[in-house]
Each structure stands twice: as structure tokens, then as C-alpha cells.
Amino acid sequence: MAQAMTTDAGSHHASALDTPPTSAGAQLRARLLNALQTAVPGCQVLTGEENLAPYETDALPVYRQLPLMVALPDDESQVQGVLRECRRLGVPVVPRGGGTSLSGGATPMPNSLVLSLARLTRVLEVDPLARTATVQPGVRNIRISEVAAPYELYYAPDPSSQIACTIGGNVAENAGGLHCLKYGLTVHNILRVKAISMDGEVLEFGSLAPDAPGLDLLALLIGSEGMFAVVTEITVRLIPKPPVAKLVLASFDDVETAGDAVAAIIGEGIIPAGLEMMDKPAIAAVEAFVHAGYDQEAAALLLCEADGNREEVAEEVARICAVLQRHEVRDVQVSSNEAERLKWWSGRKNALPAAGRLAPDYFCMDGSIPRRAIGKLLKRIQGMEEVYGLQCLNVFHAGDGNLHPLILFDGNDADQLRRAEDFGADILERCVELGGTITGEHGVGIEKLNSMCVQFTPAERETFLAIKRAFDPAGLLNADKGIPTHARCAEYGHMHVSGGRLPFPDIERF
């Protein structure tokens, strides 16, 4: 989503201001623009509504806000310069990578500067012996595996948006993907991060050594939704590419049986490389879109991948199939070649665009629950479809217990939007009730702020707010994301009753 514009009228290097100040926002913009032109003369800055429009939202387009301006630094010192000037003038900063956040993590704050890292796209070093790659934050996730490929190495976390999302954004969100069960999340695959604080200080988190002295701030930084510091350099761990991968495709007549089969595979002591599940509406949607060859009569589909060397994979596939046979499976197939394996995966990987064909808008929820509760939650979601009058497709990382219900709606219909938001919040609260969490890998952003009020006590939220202040005392860095204010939770608590039905449904709310 992030794009660099080089020749538009609103693109400045050292030009005069083109918009006369007409309001407090415009005055602030003029002061900031002058400050940046003086202090960071080489840094490109975008203003003007037509230039800012691509930055007003991310992959959650129901939330929109035009920023004051967008800065597109070319190097670390420009990032530092921009942050220092914003800090001096008290301008909020919203860092942005590929703009693929599904939780509104890159939505601009009012009167903010969007700091796009889209031009920091250099791969600085690949060290095959140490199995590391050091890259700038704007490097796309998939590119890391591409540059590592000649050494038969790759970067494991593979969010579905991996062709577009950046590693900087992955660090901010602790992104997951399809293979986390065996290979971990972003936090398990990052060794070292260089970042600039809101005060303009250069910070180095982690180490190329196994650990660093003091508290493990790297673990705290990863997943902090760009609220602690702006990442400028990342060293990732590369791992050997498994020579062989085989995908087992199994269909079931009942979602609960499929859920039980998932628990049984794990209970057997098998850690598959991927263990994904889709329900019937999701199967129908993707089959119509990519023709992956799925069993459309099935109530649920499991995709279970084994990887490693040839002997290991053969052994694991046999064990997986044996477990499946004990769980009333309708049909089991094992991929016979790479083309077939990729075709089967393409269905799962295209679930979101397939949902996009069925309705003008969808919310992709991201609850996480203990695996044993999968069947129970799916049944609850089916009931909610009737309550809210909206359709929901379910795809999920079954091995991790991480569900992605896709709620279909039309955002131009205010009532549908409200019902979709309530539907989503209802699902997330059921996840908390089942011993899970409101977000497994997409982040809180602005989308799930209200649900944070449900998952955490006031003392826990105060701890989060205080941690934020420890990194960013002025509260300027992406400060409206991730953690709700106490006032917001008080408001939400007043108007919220469970089941998604609000008291006084007719009054206007904001």
C-alpha cells in the first residue's frame, strides 16, 4: 500500500509551502514543514489531500484519517531527524511499513505525521555461515527468503500478506503465519533490532550472541505495534530449507470431529509444519475463486504439512494419516508432487481475497483459543450469524488455536457496519471466556481497543500505559493504538452488555 511519490505537486524537498494556513492544523503543518526542510533537507515530504489519500488507511479501510503529512526518509539519520522535529513540535508520529495491517495499526492519528519506511528497502547483509540476514525495515517479508534461497536457507514466519508486508511491520506486530506451530512467530526469529526512540536516540535491542545483558527488551519491543521506537535495521534468523514437504488434505463431515483430529495429532507428539482448518462456507468461497480441488461436500477441511528430509517426512505422514483414520475422516489425500501441494495451499492462502468477492467489506477476526475449544467456538459463531444477520466464513491456524472468522458486510450500510463490529467483539469476548485471547497475530491496533477492556483489568492496563511512557514519555509514537485509555474502557463498560445487544439501541454513539 505504501507508495513513494516523486513528482507530485505536493511533494517537497525544499519548496515553499503550497497550502496557506487556515486552521490550527494548517498552522502546525506549516511549522512542521519548515522545521523538516531546515533540519532534514534531503527527506521527501508529501502534503496535499491527493498525495495523502493513499495513507489515510491500511488494510482495514473502515477506519480513515488524513495525516498532516507523510515523510519518506531514505536513511536512518533522516528517520532520526524527522522524529526529533516531531518531538520538538509535539506532533504525533505513525510509523508505516507495507500498510497491510488488518487491525488499523497504521491508521494516521489526527494532525499526525505518517513516517513511511517504504524506502528503506536495502538488504544489508546475508551471512550464510551465521544464518542471518540484516535488512532495513521496508524489505518485504518474502524478499528475505528470496535473497537467502541461494544458500538453501529461508526466513520462516510467513504471514498471508508476505508478498506485500514488510519485516518492519512484522516486528511491530509480532506477525505469525501458516508455519508458526513448528517454526515460531516473529519473536522467535529475530536476533537484533536497531531502532530510534521518539527522542531521536539510537537503540539496539538483542544481539547476534544468544542473549544480551539486562532485561529482554527485544521480546518486549516485538509486537509493541510501533509504539516504543521506529525500527531501522533488523537481523533475522535464517533456517535451512527442508528438502521435502508433503501436504495431507483431509475432509470431515463435522467440524467438531475435525477439531478433535487436530488435538489428536498434537497429542500423538507430532508437530506438523502447518495445521490449518477451513469450514464449509470458507471451502465454497475459495473453491469458487481458485479451484484448489477441495471436497465441497465436506463440513471441514484440514491441511496438515510435514517437512524435513525424505525419510522424516515419510515417517511423519504415515503417523498423521494413522491418526486421521481413527477420527472418522471422509477422505485423506497426500500431495504427490510440488504442484499439487502448492495448489492445495493456494486455496487456504486466498481465503481473504475469496471473502472479498462475496461482500463489499469483511472483518478478519483473529481470536486465539485452546485447541480443545475450537469446536465449541465454531458452534457459537454459527449461532451469532443469526443474531447479527451476517455471514461468517471460518479459516484458522488450527494447530495454534488461532481463528480467523471472516465477517461479511457492506460498510456503506451504517447498520451493517455496526452489527459487524458487534459480531466481531462478541466473538473475541467468547475467545477470552474460553481461555483465549482477542488477538493472536494481527494486533490490537484501533480495531480491538474495546476488547482490550474485557481481557485486562484496570491495573494491567495501567501497567501497559506506564510501559508505553517508559519508552515514549511524551506519548507521541502511534499512541492511539494497542492500549485503550481508562476513560475509553469506562465508556465501553457503560454501554456494553454481552450478546451484542446494547441498551438504548437508538441513541447515537461515538
Binding site: 551465521a130 519473536v187 532485561l215 529482554d216 525419510e311 522424516e312 515417517e315 480443545r372 481461555g435 494491567e460
Partner: protein, 365 residues
């Protein structure tokens, strides 16, 4: 159902009272579990806050690969419980004595031989409940593998050495014990061992531990039967008998061999990037973790040891003081200025008046 939030019990009330009294008096507390690792880190002044009687497994469902247990639970009890279901703590923590507790294990953040190939403690921490210096009980993270709601305070607790609060309970991800494990022995010099271990780590070889000492490289392979057998055929070396192999890795994990026995010379733990060639230090060495961890018995001055470690991009910990070690020497390499300021502010978030284990990590907080 979510685990019930226990915010009050006789033990918790006792802890809360002791913490409140210390806070009111402007005092300090040394948090102690089984007292098996009190020698680790800088010495802590203040009376003991004993947390051993907050104990027991809270939840364990083998099919979920997650256990939740209280801080005072003996580490040996946790390991025995999960072993009955063919599961293990993947980071293979050292106990350093039969009294070791789960809380102490998490607070110390020390991992064993499997660390280089399976990950650190923090990689397996899913959630914690803590008590802060105000006596508030708070939960962070949870019992599920994927969880990005709120900042990752749970992982921050691993290795925090009790400086942020009392770790009341912890939820850990477990892994199945691999079906097959065998060890191989090779004769090679140090630099050749470092190069070889890094080279193998870039190949799909199911390694689970490695160590080099006095010209001998030991490699442990763990995985499926077929995977381990094919690696043995591919790598060569001498197969070590199973009981010898188990004893070797156990002795390394618990540091029971002569090399690690109490001595006049300090034991240094030097963590460096794994490809770092042999360090230019005098003395004896045991290398682990694919080259990333180097244990040294060296008479060289602390400043020189730290300079060598830091020049290589790592750091040096005074792990066990020797009888000749000068008093007052800080246990850990110095934390760089801007990070130290953040760490000091973070400590204040949980413990504003500095009650819990002051100076244990850094004399500044």
C-alpha cells in the same frame, strides 16, 4: 474456561503484607524460591521473601502442549509430570540443585544444551501472573501459543531475576520428547569445531545439542528415527553409547563435571555470535550452543575478558565467583546507556521504590 484469576489466598496475603511492610519502611526484599541459584547475579541486600509455599500445577492438558504452575513448584516435579506424557521443557533448564523451583527457573532465564536448537526460556513463556510492589496481582499473556494482546510482559519476566516483581505462576509451551536421540563424537580443534557446527546448522540436520572441549566435539541428534539415522550416516563420527550420551549432556546441563567444580578461578559465561573464532584468552574452556556460548576458567582480569567478549559482539557474565575473585565485581556486562535508562524506567513501572532484588542485574536499579 479461562483459568480462574486467583488474587487472594493466605499465601498471597502473606506476600502482600511483607511487600507492603517493606515498601512502607523504604526497605528491600530478596525474592527466594529453592535457593539453588542465589549465587547468580549481583548480591542482593535485604530480608528474604520466601515464595516456596505458593506451589502446585494449576492446569495441564497434554493435548494443548501447555502447563501452568505456581512459582514454588519444584522444577523436578514439573519435569516428572510432563515426562509421563512424553513431553519436555524444550529449553532444558539447569536445576543446580534438587530444590530448584519453576519461579526461580523463569527468573534466572538460564537454558541448557538444547538452547541453540530449540530456543530460550522466553521463547516458551506464554503467560505469567505476577505481584507488583503495590501488591497487585496481574496476568499477562495467557495459555495460547499466539497472543499479541497488550505488550509481551510475560516474556520480559524470563531472565528478569526477580527485579520486576514476584512471578506467581507461569504458563509454558511444551514439546514432545523426540522419538529418537543419539550422540556422535568427533576429534577436531576449536576453530574447526566452530566452523563445522555453524555449517551443519545451515543444513537440515536434526541437532539438539553440541559441545566442544579439549579437542573433542560432541553432537546430539534428536528427531524421528529415520531423520536421526540418516543424519548419522551423513555426518560420520563415532556413535556414543546411549547411557554415556545421556550422562554427558546431563553433566553439562547441571555443570557437575570437574571443569565446573568450585575453584579459586572464577567461571565466566561468555555469549558471542556463534561464528566467532576461538577467543584470545588464557585458560580452559568448554564451548556450547553451536559456538554461541563459551565457558571459561581464566585468570585474566575481568576488564580484559569483557573487552574480548564485547569486541566479538557479545558479553561476559561472572557466572560463579572463585575464591580469588575480587569482591564488588559486577556480574554482568554493562548495559549501554540509552537502554539502561529505559530499563530503569521499566523497573519503576512495576516497583517504583526499588523493593525487589535491587542491584541483582545492574547496580543502577
Amino acid at each position: 474456561m479461562p483459568l480462574p484469576a486467583v488474587t487472594s489466598s493466605p499465601v498471597l496475603e502473606r506476600l502482600r503484607e511483607q511487600i507492603g511492610a517493606a515498601r512502607a519502611a523504604g526497605g528491600m526484599l530478596r525474592i527466594r524460591g529453592g535457593d539453588s541459584k542465589s549465587w547468580y547475579g549481583n548480591p542482593v541486600p535485604g530480608p528474604v521473601l520466601d515464595v516456596r509455599d505458593y506451589a502446585g500445577v494449576v492446569a495441564y492438558d497434554p493435548a494443548e502442549l501447555v502447563i501452568t504452575a505456581r512459582c514454588g513448584t519444584p522444577l523436578a516435579e514439573i519435569e516428572a509430570t510432563i515426562a509421563q506424557n512424553g513431553q519436555m521443557l524444550p529449553f532444558e533448564p539447569p536445576h543446580f540443585g534438587p530444590t530448584a523451583t519453576l519461579g526461580g527457573c523463569i527468573a534466572a532465564g538460564l537454558a541448557g544444551p538444547r538452547r541453540a536448537y530449540a530456543g530460550a526460556i522466553r521463547d516458551y513463556v506464554l503467560g505469567v501472573t505476577i505481584m507488583n510492589a503495590r501488591g497487585e496481582v496481574m496476568r499477562f499473556g495467557g495459555q495460547v501459543m499466539k497472543n499479541v494482546a497488550g505488550y509481551d510482559v510475560a516474556r520480559l519476566m524470563a531472565g528478569s531475576l526477580g527485579t520486576l516483581g514476584v512471578i506467581l505462576d507461569v504458563s509454558l509451551r511444551l514439546l514432545p520428547v523426540p522419538v529418537a536421540t543419539h550422540s556422535l563424537r568427533f576429534v577436531m580443534d576449536e576453530n574447526q569445531a566452530i566452523e563445522t557446527l555453524n555449517h551443519w546448522a545451515g543444513k537440515p540436520v536434526p541437532m539438539s545439542a553440541s559441545a566442544w572441549h579439549e579437542g573433542e566435539l560432541l553432537l546430539r541428534l534428536s528427531g524421528s528415527k529415520a531423520g536421526v539415522q540418516s543424519a548419522i550416516a551423513q555426518l560420520g563420527g563415532d556413535l556414543v553409547a546411549d547411557d554415556g550420551s545421556t550422562a554427558y549432556w546431563q553433566a553439562l546441563r547441571e555443570q557437575t563435571s570437574d571443569f565446573f567444580a568450585p575453584s579459586a578461578t572464577a567461571l565466566w559465561r561468555i555469549a558471542v555470535p556463534p561464528t566467532t573464532p576461538a577467543l584470545a584468552l588464557e585458560g580452559a574452556q568448554w564451548l556450547e550452543w553451536g559456538g554461541g556460548l563459551r565457558w571459561w576458567r581464566t585468570p585474566e582480569p575481568a576488564a580484559e575478558i569483557r573487552r574480548v567478549a564485547e569486541r566479538a559482539g557479545g558479553h561476559a557474565t561472572l557466572f560463579r565467583r572463585g575464591t580469588n575473585t575480587e569482591g564488588g565485581l559486577p556480574a554482568f556486562s554493562s548495559i549501554p546507556g540509552p537502554l539502561a535508562a529505559i530499563q530503569r524506567r521499566l523497573k519503576a513501572v512495576f516497583d517504583p521504590t526499588g523493593i525487589f532484588n535491587p542491584c541483582r542485574i545492574d547496580p543502577r536499579f
